[in-house]
Amino acid sequence: MNTLTSTTTTQARPRGNGGGYMHGLDILRVIASTAGVYVHTANWFAVNQREFSLNGVVRTVVADPLHLNPHLSFTDVTIFMVISGMVVTHVADRERPGQFLLRRFGRIIPLLVVVLFITAMLINLGVFRAETKQTSLSFLDVLAGVTLTGFFTTPTVILVGVTWTLLLQITFYSYVAATMPLLRRRPWLPSAAAAALVCVGLSLASGPQPEPVHRIGVIATFITLIFIGQLITLVRSGKVSVGTGSAIGAAHFGLFVWADKLGGYAYAGGGMVRTAFLAILLILVVMYMSGPITKSAFVKAWSARTYAIYLIHPVVIYPTLAALAPKIGNIPALLVALVFTAAVTEVLHRYVEMAVHQRIRRWEKQRSS
């Protein structure tokens, strides 16, 4: 997810009040990516009715006492979305709209396309099953899946489940680019206007609706979290007062609660609002941390790879577990799957994500000189 997109370049990280980089965001990305991998792994074991001892521990120690979603679902998405809003708003302050879109899409689209093509190949080879259960794909299915238009078709064609959050990112980037002049002159206005738009979106999309309209409701629901991130950055930088930022942020959170009450937009469990609330509090607390672990090279490197981890981990972990768990046992299979995920992540990060990113930067330099 894009949050990560801007993280590998240190310049893209919001600065703390004291002028230093917010290393806390790196550790939050590590937490979110770990949660994401855990959520999907736990779901795989649950769906396949296999015992996974960590599930019991997490349920007893965290999920049940805090009444969160089963397997802590949605924790990762909340953290990634809020950080995304924070980081993207920070970089939007010093980029032109075209440059902003080129850089943001340059970070998310190439890796997304590569991962989805690999996934389509694995589906047609019978190694992986699409999120929407297809076991073989036509050319048009692949096209719909790779371009994410499959989210709006009937039947839907979704190759990797986690890519639904990319719809939110793309919508948010486009909105930020469109409202960039406003964001600089009246910083509170874009997020306030977005709250009104979300309200309209949820009103139109409530109840049984065709897939494209329903999908607009999903985007309207979860984009509120990204705008909360935007407001955090605006308040921190002093561009929006605490009172105004809190009021607009509360409006966005209220819209999220409303969407949760309408139902149908979230599939992770009955603790969506609580999970989002606690995750936002966690972000506000952890983002200022700057201890030795938070600043370590390992955390920084992991943080830079979280987009690749986020996209690729289900594609690697699910088939690996399916192939190995019955033969060598759950935990050894999971360890192999995690090592495999790390290796594939590294390759994708170096040779796709960063390669394209550096090429865009070189092109920008040549153009400006």
Binding site: P65, H67, V257, R274, L278, V285, Y288
Partner: protein
Amino acid sequence: MSSPPEPTQPIASVSARHAGLHAPVAVATVLIAYSFLGGLWLNRHGYSPEWLVVVREWFNKPLGLGEDFGFLAIALLLMSVGHLLTARAMTSPWAVFAKRLAWQALPPAAIAAVLGLLFSLFADPLPLAFDYQANPLLFSLLVGLAFAGLLVLTAPLLPRQWPVAVVAQLAVVTFTLTVAGIADVPQLGILAALVTLPIIGELLWLSRKGLARFWEAAPLALFCFALLMVCEHLFREARDWWFPVAAVSALMLMLLAVRGDARAEHPRPVEWLVSRSYYLVVLCGVLAYPLVGLLDLLSLPISYVVSLLVWGLGAELLHRWFGKST
């Protein structure tokens, strides 16, 4: 009665060591009023106004902060108590700390108890019962007093051997919780478990002052949360309150507040609420709560206005008599 000698620290340092507590204490005191005079009194007397239902449906239920934010307020106050008393214990001679604490905490509690007994003759105060469900305020005051007792006993250890002091406090809490579990005394078990909240506040202060490192304080704080969870597992009576949700929320809010609020000066209403918070909490169930019921015969809005004024006046008098509560 004469008050014990004042601590030697100048007022400025007192203010500075409380930096960060203003927001949580002020918010918690307002939430106490909302929860007990608003939500609880109205419900126990047959009222169910639309706004209360809306707040519950849109905030309390989705966030898991039940009792109309009552336990969130209690958790914030208990953590603040831990933070504040630890600061005092570390910066005052032991005898001064113990005397001042006893002077400020016990007589107002005794006055409140007398008021409660008096009101119970002709009105409807919160019952003087050792039962969280019947009177969460009294219960929480007992939790605060239990922690204060533990702190007084372990205060000499704090400056040089803080881990020993905190572990000793946790050992007492764990032992009491275990005994309550074996003997099946749920209220004692809940009380013991809630004492972990001021201990978390204590750890927060030790951590802020650089005495406790993160890796030292964090496991102890996690152990505190573990005891809250154990309490839920042991006692059916503890399960309906969702203590861990509010406790975790309170800790996050405290961490945010102590980091962000380092100003020495605050708006006067905030200063007023913070300096009188203990007396307001003490008097809420025995003065304001029964007064709302007594004056309800006139009209509910008038009853609320008068009760709030009398409640504030009572806290002001106690404050002037016994000194700052924070």
